[in-house]
């Protein structure tokens, strides 16, 4: 492969471009109208417009993206995550156009992308599954019919989009009364996010953890599992903090779980990167949940504890290389890594999206810190896409060390112009239960619920006084008539004046 088109945007497009650069491969970015000046467009060697802002008119347009790849002379396509990453038609369209799709085959995507078919594969591989519907429930299935199936499974249960992922089109349903509304909302989200509103039901395992196993499979029959990721920290079924390894997985469980994951993948001759998600209950029993047939958002924590560049390996596998990694070292994490997904959401307003222009940005640095981001000063957190600003990852010799570095990095992070979830993480990183590793998938929602809307982050009396002083001095030293007008000039004036006063 000499040139790869990245069929995505934001931080993951930047991440893939970086891997390509490391490998000496040219890159082609695609962009919707509002992404014209985005970082991924500027870092790529070439760039193609693919349509207006709504995803269906740009990042979900198979025809436009395949045409862009063909016209630009790309020989490979990396789908990132989200958008078309788990769309079998896209993988097939790439293949039909003579492009190498950097991911599994369309057949594997179809099979494992259907939650119900994936369950069958897990059962064939001898891996336990959570009780639930065997067949997808199409849009046409009536509420009454769904209610009847639900009764058979029992409440509480999970409503999930067959094509889903990332918490979209997913709802927890506590009782029959909640089902119709939840079904409508989940179907609508699923239709908008994946173009497919088919649903399935699954019993909710209480007080469980969400643990997942990263896999790489080459085209020569080798499938290698990696040390697990702990993904239980979710808000409304959306992962927000991940870590590796998990405190809840002793080495015996790690052996069994990673072997189970590899067995499922081998059953379907899986190739390239994929992830098997498990529920782990309080007795240490794990259940196959689903397979994500793509790179995960949280892949960097695996990279930090194993030293493996997963994106580079995706590309190497796609061009036919053999997996030469040492299987044992992939299961022996070095230190501990944690990721916080920083979103443009306002924790003080119930995590309401807070789109807008990023007027200032200071990104943390130093030992053990990695920031994967597509944000830049002057850029927008657009309303059309996932409001992620950054994946902040820290590594430490131990879990407390990694968490201490995360606290340090969050304190250095500054995003101005939009509200972010940084205050939420600062609060979480002081929570005793979290620090002790006592949590399950319901942890965040319970903790937030218990706060009853009390602000996560109240300014101390001292901080309030400092704010008063800063506001006063800024006014004294910068009597700017039109604040937005002359930043550059008044900067020097302000500097000169304050210098003169010293």
């Amino acid at each position: 492969m000499k040139k790869i088109l990245i069929a995505n945007r934001g931080e993951i497009a930047v991440r893939v471009i970086r891997a390509c650069r490391d490998m000496g491969i040219a890159t082609v970015a695609v962009y919707s109208e509002c992404d014209r000046a985005a970082l991924h467009v500027r870092l790529a060697d070439q760039a193609c417009p693919i349509g207006p802002n709504p995803p269906r008119e740009s990042y979900l347009r198979i025809d436009a993206i395949v045409a862009a790849a063909t016209q630009s002379g790309a020989d490979g396509v990396h789908p990132g995550y989200g958008f078309l990453a788990e769309n079998e038609d896209f993988a097939a369209a790439c293949r039909d156009a003579g492009l190498i799709f950097i991911g599994p085959t369309p057949e594997a995507i179809r099979l494992m992308g259907s939650k119900t078919a994936a369950r069958q594969a897990a059962i064939r591989a001898g891996v336990p599954v959570v009780p639930g519907t065997a067949e997808p429930l199409a849009d046409t299935v009536s509420d009454a019919a769904v209610l009847k199936i639900a009764e058979g499974i029992g409440y509480p249960l999970m409503l999930k989009a067959v094509a889903g992922g990332g918490g979209n089109g997913m709802r927890m349903v506590a009782n029959a009364a909640e089902l119709p509304n939840a079904l409508r909302a989940a179907r609508s989200e699923a239709a908008s996010a994946f173009g497919d509103s088919a649903m399935y039901l699954e019993r909710r395992i209480m007080a469980s953890r969400h643990i997942e196993v990263q896999l790489l499979g080459d085209h020569h029959g080798t499938v290698l599992p990696f040390v697990e990721r702990e993904c239980s920290l979710q808000r409304r079924h959306q992962k927000i903090v991940e870590e590796s390894p998990s405190l809840a997985v002793p080495s015996g469980t790690r052996r069994a779980m990673t072997a189970a994951a590899a067995a499922v993948a081998k059953t379907v001759n899986y190739t390239n990167a994929g992830t098997i998600e498990f529920l782990l209950d309080t007795d240490g029993q794990f259940y196959f949940l689903e397979m994500n047939t793509r790179l995960q958002v949280e892949h960097p924590i695996t990279e930090m504890v194993t030293g493996v560049d997963l994106v580079a390996w995706q590309i190497r596998i796609a061009r036919g290389e053999k997996l030469t990694l040492d299987p044992e070292s992939l299961l022996a994490p070095r230190g501990h890594a944690v990721e916080c997904r920083i979103y443009a959401e306002d924790p003080a307003l119930g995590f309401m999206p807070s789109p807008g222009r990023i007027t200032g940005l200071r990104v943390p640095h130093g030992p053990g810190v990695r920031d994967d981001s597509g944000a830049y000063e002057g850029g927008e957190a657009p309303i059309f896409y996932d409001p992620m600003i950054s994946k902040l990852v820290t590594w430490g010799e131990s879990r407390p060390h990694a968490l201490a570095r995360m606290r340090r990095a969050l304190a250095e992070y500054e995003v101005r112009g939009v509200q972010t979830t940084i205050p939420f993480f600062q609060w979480l990183l002081h929570d005793e239960d979290f620090l002790a590793g006592r949590f399950d998938t319901g942890f965040i929602d319970r903790k937030l619920g218990a706060r009853n809307g009390e602000p996560l982050q109240a300014a101390t009396a001292y901080q309030q006084e400092m704010a008063a002083i800063a506001a006063a001095l800024a006014q004294v030293l910068r009597p700017a008539p039109a604040p937005a007008a002359s930043e550059a000039s008044s900067r020097w004036k302000g500097h000169a004046r304050s210098e003169a006063l010293r």
């Binding site: 789109p355 901080q463 930043e487």
Partner: protein, 173 residues
């Protein structure tokens, strides 16, 4: 110079006088010596000495103002603190956070997006935390709820309508 601010619903009086290399500042009568320098743009570095202290504390403050708005957002240690200038002529920001209090609740769009569902009509009785309207933005549906019991007085939008941040959606009284 004497300035008055409202911070967290409390009036703060700040007196600033030059003092040698820096400023002497009284906040509600409490004196401090401040050495201040503008770092870049709206980033300021304060070195703050309380009365009797020999070593200054280092405080970095971002003072973000907007034209025509009397509230400046001051960021300190990653905490965002809205500071309302008294006697200012502009409008207050963060009107959307008018959920608390006793007057009518004006539900404003907290971000640009599309109205996907309206769950109430004028005249409806609503209870605390009851859903009023659903706005979709950034792939997520966001249900806006009533902060207190009340009656819907007005609905300003229709389903499918695109709204800007701050657009009035519903009034509950």
């Amino acid at each position: 110079m004497k300035l008055q601010f409202d911070i967290a619903d409390r009036l703060r009086t700040v007196e600033v006088t030059r003092d040698g290399h820096g400023f002497r500042v009284l906040v509600d009568g409490v004196p401090r010596l401040i050495d201040v320098v503008r770092v870049h743009g709206n980033i300021w570095s304060l070195l703050v000495r309380d009365h009797g202290e020999s070593t200054a504390r280092s405080v970095e403050a971002v003072v973000a103002s907007q034209a025509g708005v009397d509230t400046v957002d001051v960021h300190i240690d990653g905490v965002s603190i809205p500071v309302l200038m008294r006697n200012g002529l502009g409008r207050r920001s963060r009107d959307s956070v008018s959920a608390k209090g006793t007057g009518p609740q004006r539900i404003l769009a907290p971000m640009p997006g599309k109205v996907v569902r309206i769950l109430v009509k004028p005249g409806d009785q609503v209870q605390t935390r009851q859903g009023l309207i659903v706005v979709e933005a950034m792939k997520m549906e966001n249900e806006l709820r009533a902060a207190r019991d009340g009656r819907v007085r007005e609905v300003f939008v229709v389903e499918g309508q695109s709204v800007e941040s701050g657009t009035p959606l519903v009034v509950v009284e």
